[in-house]
């Protein structure tokens, strides 16, 4: 980017300068890539360390179990978890789909509610003062106490689970959005107003787009809660799902299958988490490029 930085303004000859400028512009794409490799290492540089660490832990676990001869009901060897898990792969897969469904529907519902609340708060100081204490209070409700009540109130269907997922995930999104909207400062607001914008145009032209990076940060935090929330809701009572699967296997002392379900849960969470990066890059490519450009300087 240095070549662009140093370009001097040459207005009368701007037309003549352009070809040279175009030539320098074709340069940058290759440059950051090179820099990235030297500083952060290659793709394998970021993927290898976690794999090695996990593999190491699994080996220690495997060896530890066979050396101490601990009973599998207490602590099964990882190999046993894998073998037993794979044997019941189709059952676990069915439960995974249920959990995924609860997670996604609950999270979608949570997103809708969070957006509505955040926008309403952005437009009204009264609502902000009135709602914020309630929202904070909602986060102090112990899920462990409320989840069984949800089942009593709404039965074993989808609804209580969706509500639990929404309850544990909407708050970070609301806070992320409200703070994001406020990133547009007074001066920006003045600029828009001078152009003739009212409150709604100010919102759509500035406040909404400037909130997107913090929205995605909040989204990442929330999506991991969503999976845990769904599993917790199922654990308390459900017809299918990883939560209820873990609960029944625990009661049967099948620790190996509980752990297999835990592993699936982890994979599910990580996948959804990584997915938010993909969506972020699709929805707000500018944010990613800008951050990268800043990092390069």
């Amino acid at each position: 980017m240095t070549s662009l930085e140093n370009r001097k303004p040459a207005p009368p000859a701007a037309g003549a300068v352009t070809p040279a400028v175009r030539a320098t512009r074709s340069g940058p794409p290759s440059k950051p890539a090179k820099k990235k490799r030297t500083r952060r290492g290659s793709f394998w540089g970021s993927v290898l360390p976690p794999i090695v660490i996990v593999a190491l832990l699994v080996v220690i676990w495997e060896v530890g179990v066979s050396v101490t001869g601990v009973r599998p009901q207490v602590l099964p060897a990882p190999s046993r978890v894998v073998v037993e898990g794979l044997e019941r792969a189709d059952i676990i897969w069915g439960h995974t789909l249920s959990t995924l469904q609860v997670t996604l529907i609950g999270f979608a519902f949570s997103l809708i509610v969070a957006w509505i609340i955040a926008i309403a708060i952005d437009f009204s100081g009264v609502l902000r003062r009135g709602l914020m204490p309630l929202l904070v209070a909602s986060q102090t409700i112990p899920i462990i106490a409320i989840a069984p009540l949800m089942i009593i109130w709404f039965g074993f269907g989808l609804l209580p689970k969706i509500l639990v997922v929404a309850l544990v995930t909407f708050f970070p999104i609301v806070v992320g959005l409200i703070e994001g909207f406020n990133k547009a400062d007074r001066e920006t607001s003045n600029l828009l107003r001078s152009m003739g914008a009212g409150r709604w145009k100010e919102f759509t032209f500035v406040r909404l787009p400037s909130a997107m990076p913090s929205f995605f940060t909040a989204l990442r935090i929330s999506i991991t809660y969503a999976v845990v929330g769904a599993i917790f809701a199922e654990y308390v009572g459900a017809q299918s799902g990883l939560g209820i699967f873990m609960s029944t296997q625990k009661n049967a002392f099948r620790t190996d299958l509980v752990l297999a379900a835990v592993a699936v849960t982890a994979v599910l969470s990580i996948t959804l988490y990584l997915l938010t990066f993909v969506i972020e890059r699709l929805v707000i490519p500018w944010s990613f490029k800008e951050r990268k450009a800043r990092g390069d300087r």
């Binding site: 001066e187 001078s194 944010s287 800008e290």
Partner: protein, 267 residues
């Protein structure tokens, strides 16, 4: 003389600080700007320049006094002025041409037409070839030109520039002033510019208005009778230096007052 483009008549503004206290920020500011004239407003920091600007731009209402455009009362009206804030405030999610079109889009022009209008200015503003770049790819000077482009594209009668080059390093600033001077003599916009920079004020403007320490009122109006177009070499000429000296003297007196005020307020 024709009807002035802008006329400020006895502007007053006080801010309520709460607890029964208030701060008198603008006190009886009156001056006028002729069509096609470039006027620089200079004053000690914290003197209320920006508040005065917001009143002219229709973003704030004065407690008393009038803003007239073409002789008509224009208090609280925003449609006459294109406002350029101190920071470039280019939006990272918009390309440069889209940033340029912002004002037109806000005013309801279809996006395609707004982008075309914005594009027409790229050559003049030395931004040709950067239409589809994003702000972070541009240098400070280029960003500031893009911000000015966004201001000019709106096609409004009067430009209000709030320290347009304040954030630039001194070399880039000189180049920008030189460039603006050239473009301005071509378009002869009516413009009011706030600045801290005495040299910039003399170099660019037809008239310099010096404000007093807070509450701001007009301390001095100085016609700059230097021929246009102005060359950079002009700044070392005796006439130029004489204007500068005159301004420095008055301004420093006001700055000392402002400084004493601030110290008084803190002790």
């Amino acid at each position: 003389m024709s009807t002035p483009k802008i006329q400020l008549v006895g502007l007053q503004k006080e801010f309520d600080l709460g607890g029964g206290e208030s701060r008198h920020v603008v006190d009886d500011v009156s001056f006028s700007v002729q069509p096609g004239e470039f006027v620089a407003v200079i004053g000690p920091s914290g003197c209320g320049k920006s508040t005065m600007f917001n009143i002219i731009a229709g973003l704030e209402l004065p407690d008393a006094g009038e803003v007239r455009v073409d002789g008509q009362n224009a208090v609280g009206q925003r449609e006459h002025f294109a406002y350029m804030p101190q920071k470039d405030l280019l939006f990272p999610w918009r390309t440069i041409v889209e940033n340029g079109a912002l004002g037109l889009e806000v005013q309801g022009m279809p996006k395609k037409k707004a982008l075309e209008r914005s594009k027409q200015f790229f050559h003049t503003f030395g931004l040709a070839g950067y239409e589809n770049s994003h702000p972070y790819e541009l240098s400070g000077g280029m960003r500031q030109r893009a911000a000015l482009l966004r201001t000019v594209v709106q096609g409004r009668e009067i430009l209000l520039l709030d320290e347009p080059f304040g954030a630039l390093d001194s070399l880039t600033r000189i180049e920008m002033q030189n460039w603006l001077q050239g473009v301005w003599s071509e378009y002869s916009w009516t413009a009011v510019m706030i600045t801290h920079d005495i040299r910039e004020a003399v170099y660019l403007s037809d008239r310099v208005i010096v404000l007093t320490a807070r509450p701001a009122s007009v301390r001095l109006e100085l016609e700059i009778e230097l021929p246009r177009p102005r060359e950079l070499s002009l700044v070392t000429s005796p006439e130029f230096v004489a204007y500068e000296e005159q301004l420095i003297e008055v301004l420093h007196e006001e700055s000392r007052k402002a400084f004493a005020q601030q110290n008084g307020a803190h002790s």
